[in-house]
Symmetry: C2
Subunit: 255 residues, 2 copies
Amino acid sequence: MPENVFDLSALKVSCQRCSLRHLCLPNELTNGDVEKLDDLMERHSPLQRGEFLFRQGDRYRSLYVVRSGSFKTHHLHKDGTESILGFHLPGEIIGLTGLGNGEYHTSAIALERATICELPLHRLHYLAQLLPSLNEQLYKIMSNRITEDQEMLMILREHTAQERLASFVMSLAQRFKHRGFSSDNIVLSMTRQDIANFLGLTLETVSRTLAKLEKKGILGIERRNIHILDNDRLHKLSRASHDDPSGTDGDRKGA
Amino acid sequence: MPENVFDLSALKVSCQRCSLRHLCLPNELTNGDVEKLDDLMERHSPLQRGEFLFRQGDRYRSLYVVRSGSFKTHHLHKDGTESILGFHLPGEIIGLTGLGNGEYHTSAIALERATICELPLHRLHYLAQLLPSLNEQLYKIMSNRITEDQEMLMILREHTAQERLASFVMSLAQRFKHRGFSSDNIVLSMTRQDIANFLGLTLETVSRTLAKLEKKGILGIERRNIHILDNDRLHKLSRASHDDPSGTDGDRKGA
DNA sequence: CGCCGAATTGAGTCTATTCAAATGTGGTGG
DNA sequence: CCACCACATTTGAATAGACTCAATTCGGCG
């Protein structure tokens, strides 16, 4: 790649000049505080696709922020099956779980070539004194994370396959948009199986449902590339049953 | 009940003498620190069944700890339906969501007569400086909460009605046990509808499934009272499909 | 005693699953 | 260049678990 504007790993990185600054830990911090934070953070060489950032059961080391690329976190059950707990885009935090008992209870895996910033645990300990505003920021981040997980709970409990997929696509689109990327042309870095696992469906159902959304003219799908053709109808599908009783699509759930 | 040993609201309460001390915020704090915390906390007169502790959309006020009784938190959708996000027993924290955007995104309702302790937000702000160990404790609590929500996600995605119910009952039993109550005789303070909503099922399915567990001799059920008759089989049912491939019960999911 | 909500029980339906096979894609090596 | 393999994805048919609709029972309370 001759000119990759977003390949942050090639630059001498700093929070201050990072394009993700407003999405990430430094959000809402003063310039002086960002400078202090900068000294606490560590950077590393990129991870390749499939590489582990940490493994379930590892002693808790650090809080991580995705700088480029994407990750998935998953929990491994004793019988070998896995549960995907989330996908993580640039600017998002990995490693909020595990502070409680001192070890990660999930594994984090790069879905593509990716870079991260690291905030080691031992620095977290005196961070509250050094950077009170970052301490508050961390409270907010964790609180938001709880809220997000709870929203996911609601989606899983009350939504059909179609609604889950619609929510999933919209969520990704919004997160892309928030990062300055196109919001109606998203690239999936995960497999259908990963999506199915995350949404509590089978990969067949994901495939079928995406095909159905394509046939309706709501999405354009070519392998990992998804074009959002009709945002309004997608939005209606994603939460129609709860927040918007109207609907223009033909087939609906139930009698 | 003429002599209710656990009716803490009748005592002049303090964290130091509170029987919940080791379950609650003061956990792992030194005596001196608990004394400081004591000064930050506020107590109130009891709430009656059905009373709101706070409502969705209220400006964020405080972190709450259940002292006695129980609560449910739920999110109200625009169409009037509700999603129950959790049940809260003595020693458990309410109000971790909402720190992020400054307002509660759920409502908290007493399921029975209940008392709470309150830690106002404006005190949280300087708490990090005053009580560094409590600050760390709060990180742990929030981290654990994220972990719990994620475990709930896994249950909802991969478990049948029977497995969900088994997990739910076991979770309650463990939490009761942890509080010094009987672990094989639990009293439900919530309705079947609440349980169904929480587990992503219908109340009919909850009723039927509980009946099935009773017929198997695993549970004894009389209205809101549940006796755990066969803990081993209950445990197997709750997560047999993932963490324990063996099973002694007759009917299983799938082919 | 009768009302009302909570809970149980029954019958039929539907969504998503399971099992199965085919298609497509990318990479490897002859 | 193309055969071949591994893997992801699509598509089809049948099954099953949970849902919806509906009626009944139970229990508390005025």
